[in-house]
Amino acid sequence: MARMVQVPGPRHIEIRRMIPKARLHELSIAQNIVDSVLAEAGSRGAKRVLELRINVGELMQIDRKALRFGLKLLLTGPVLGGAQVSLRVRRASFSCRRCNSEWDMSEAKRQLQKVRPELLVREPESRELPLHFFPYLYAAFIRCPWCGSSDAEVKDGKDVEIASLVLEGAA
């Protein structure tokens, strides 16, 4: 069974006090990444995480600086301290299952400008698109610009994922 290593709760409260104006969802994402990395390292019996590569999907429109900052503060302690982090933005690319057309984020952004203001999520310092939280809802907002179908597919750049981990002492 995987050994779960919990990140102490008070630590992230403290981080959020330090950067009260940061986009808050990025900090939640950083916390979730750290939890996932610790779980993976624990399940493999690793002593340390040496390197962590994260792919960030363009569709979520994540503030990379805020995410990097959150990670920097959370990646401490004997297992995570000193881990090299690289963040790579994966360009979002879309295709239509109906007519096989393809388009990119610039077209998606054009369509997302039409999202009704009342659907924007209220953060303390900003208003965010629902896709910032739930990228899998893309088809509710983005359609094929050529045939109008909602049967679209995000081929790349949708979500945040841990692309690779380099572990020391893993089984």
Binding site: S28, D35, S36, L120, R122, F133, F134, F141, S150, I162
Partner: protein
């Protein structure tokens, strides 16, 4: 190595620590009143003083916001998305992000979204999380069983129609195979009160027959309540009608069934 998605599962696992019991409300069949039962049960549990949440997993046909008169926008703070509240009940639904937009979505995307919408919501401590399942036995149900694990139990909802009980019995069998405890079955839309008479629009069948067909005991018989269309569910539950009384009885039965769960759960995990 595998690529663990850091958003949904990690967040969901952390949130689940603050939840006592997860009550999945399902039938496998559409149009039997799952959402009404889920809304009423969760409101009633809240009225009984329990900290209660309601999660709408019917992504394509989210109706919980409509039943509870909840509208976008949703707010977010340092602890996650803030659930909307109605009568102290905490509610989260995709409908609060998509409004009246159609929500087309394929299987794998639904799996990710199921974990995310639960995990990114700041439920705080909950005695009960009631989950309104969509029709069918697809991605939402299977993912919910994974996400909620041993805290999950299932409340079945059926009408008296054989077409409904037949599908509900399939869901019951699936739950048995997966080791998910069954809290009982709600016979919904059982009758309509017309003056002092009862009319049975979906047929009149004995409890014994229905229990035999479904393979589970009936824990509540809920009438059709025509005034639901004109009044809020909160108002209907505060009235003294038969509908309100049946929901009060349902909440009591569910709590009783949950108290017996440790033994049931152990039994459910016995070799098939």
């Amino acid at each position: 190595m595998s690529r663990p998605n850091p958003l949904g599962p990690a967040a969901a696992a952390r949130r689940l620590q603050g939840v006592g019991e997860v009550i999945l409300v399902g039938s496998g069949k559409g149009g039997v009143g799952k959402s009404t039962v889920a809304c009423c049960l969760s409101l009633e549990l809240r009225r009984n003083g329990f900290s209660t949440g309601l999660l709408d997993l019917d992504f394509h046909g989210a109706s919980v916001p409509e039943y509870l008169s909840l509208r976008p926008p949703v707010s977010s703070d340092k602890d996650g998305l803030r659930p909307k509240t109605r009568g102290g009940l905490k509610v989260m639904s995709v409908g609060l992000f998509t409004g009246d937009n159609p929500v087309p979505m394929r299987g794998p995307d639904k799996q990710e979204l199921t974990a995310q919408i639960f995990g990114l919501t700041n439920w705080g401590h909950l005695d009960f999380l009631v989950v309104d399942l969509p029709p069918s036995m697809g991605d939402e149900l299977l993912t919910a069983l994974n996400v909620f694990g041993e805290k999950a139990s299932l409340l079945l909802v059926t009408t008296p129609s054989p077409a409904s009980t037949e599908v509900v019995s399939r869901l019951r069998r699936l739950a048995d195979r997966e080791g998910v405890p069954i809290l009982g079955a709600v016979l919904n839309m059982a009758y309509v009160g017309v003056g002092r008479k009862k009319v049975f629009p979906f047929g009149r069948r004995s409890a014994k027959t229905l229990e035999s067909e479904i393979g589970s005991r009936l824990c509540a018989v809920v009438p059709l309540e025509p005034t639901v269309a004109d009044r809020s569910l909160v108002e209907v539950l505060e009235s003294r009608g038969e509908f309100a009384a049946s929901i009060a009885g349902l909440a009591k039965q569910v709590r009783s069934a949950l108290r017996l769960l440790p033994a049931t759960r152990a039994g459910a995990k016995a070799p098939r």
